[in-house]
């Protein structure tokens, strides 16, 4: 399975990539929603971690577009936005899980496993 990490923070992209490198055969990275969509079309990752507050295109808009392109993709939102309404919105728009920043590597690994194990 391939993972795409979408976050405008280089440090967060590195951190998530390092933490999950053993779980995936390949890791792709994007710094905003626009780049994420281009990579999704070209490389078709099976799993995505998605930040919400990003320049150019925010995470919720990106989720909606990617779901149309890759209906079976699993998306874990990884965001600092800690209010329930945001989590509910992201999940209603197609995300499969929500992890709030700051996170530990153990929390990230647990959240990704839950998203991967979801059945349709």
């Amino acid at each position: 399975m391939r993972l795409m990490v979408v976050d405008d923070s280089l440090v967060i992209r590195n951190r998530i990539s390092r933490a999950l490198s053993a779980e995936f055969s390949g890791i792709l990275r994007a710094a905003d929603g626009t780049e994420a969509i281009k990579i999704a079309v070209a490389k078709q990752p099976e799993v995505i971690t998605m930040d919400l507050t990003m320049p150019n295109m925010d995470g919720v808009a990106c989720i909606q577009e990617i779901i149309k392109l890759l209906p079976r993709v699993r998306i874990l939102v990884v965001s600092a936005l800690a209010d329930k309404a945001t989590a509910i919105e992201a999940l209603s728009k197609g995300a499969n899980g929500f992890l709030c920043k700051p996170f530990t590597e153990a929390e990230l690994e647990s959240a990704i496993r839950k998203v991967i194990q979801l059945e349709y």
């Binding site: 280089l10 936005l81 700051p102 996170f103």
Partner: protein, 155 residues
């Protein structure tokens, strides 16, 4: 929003950010918050700035020394400390603390993606019609400041 309640929310955000980074003897210590006086110098080496809109308007800034930012990067397993990384982590800390505040301030506390300032913060970076204050903090013997400058729409 009472000032004391707002300060408590942001102190909680600071503690929450540093908790996963800290070993037992390295907890963040929070100093006494203080209101910013006119012409008071503010800011350290790098400052992450988050613009706030919606029910509140203004900015939230996280300003830290280069050394503290390097320690934060180290605790996130980074081995590069050039300016692009220092900028990035200053912005990400500000983004996380401001975003976490939505747990109490609600979804209409809209935050921007971060931008980063080098050096001292100027008065023009703060909201002109709001109370502005500093929450000083220390972590691993290095200092940082969370600066909050917010006003609320009155109904």
């Amino acid at each position: 929003m009472k000032l004391e309640r707002e300060i408590d929310i942001f102190i909680e955000g600071v503690r929450r950010y540093f908790k996963p980074l800290s070993k037992a003897d390295q907890e963040v210590t929070i100093g006494t918050p203080f209101l910013i006086k006119h012409d008071q110098p503010m800011g350290l080496d790098y400052t992450g700035l988050i613009a706030v809109s919606g029910d509140a308007r203004g900015v939230v800034l996280f300003s830290a020394s280069k050394v503290m930012l390097k320690y934060i990067l180290l605790r996130q397993s980074e081995t590069k400390f050039d300016e692009i990384y220092l900028h990035d982590i200053a912005g990400e800390v500000a983004n996380t603390i401001a975003g976490n505040a939505r747990q109490h301030l609600g979804a209409r506390f809209h935050i921007s993606p971060p931008r980063v300032l080098n050096g001292k913060i100027e008065r023009r970076h703060l909201s002109s019609d709001s109370r502005s204050y500093v929450i000083p903090l220390r972590w691993r013997k290095n200092g940082a400041e969370l600066i909050v400058s917010l006003s609320y729409a009155t109904s």
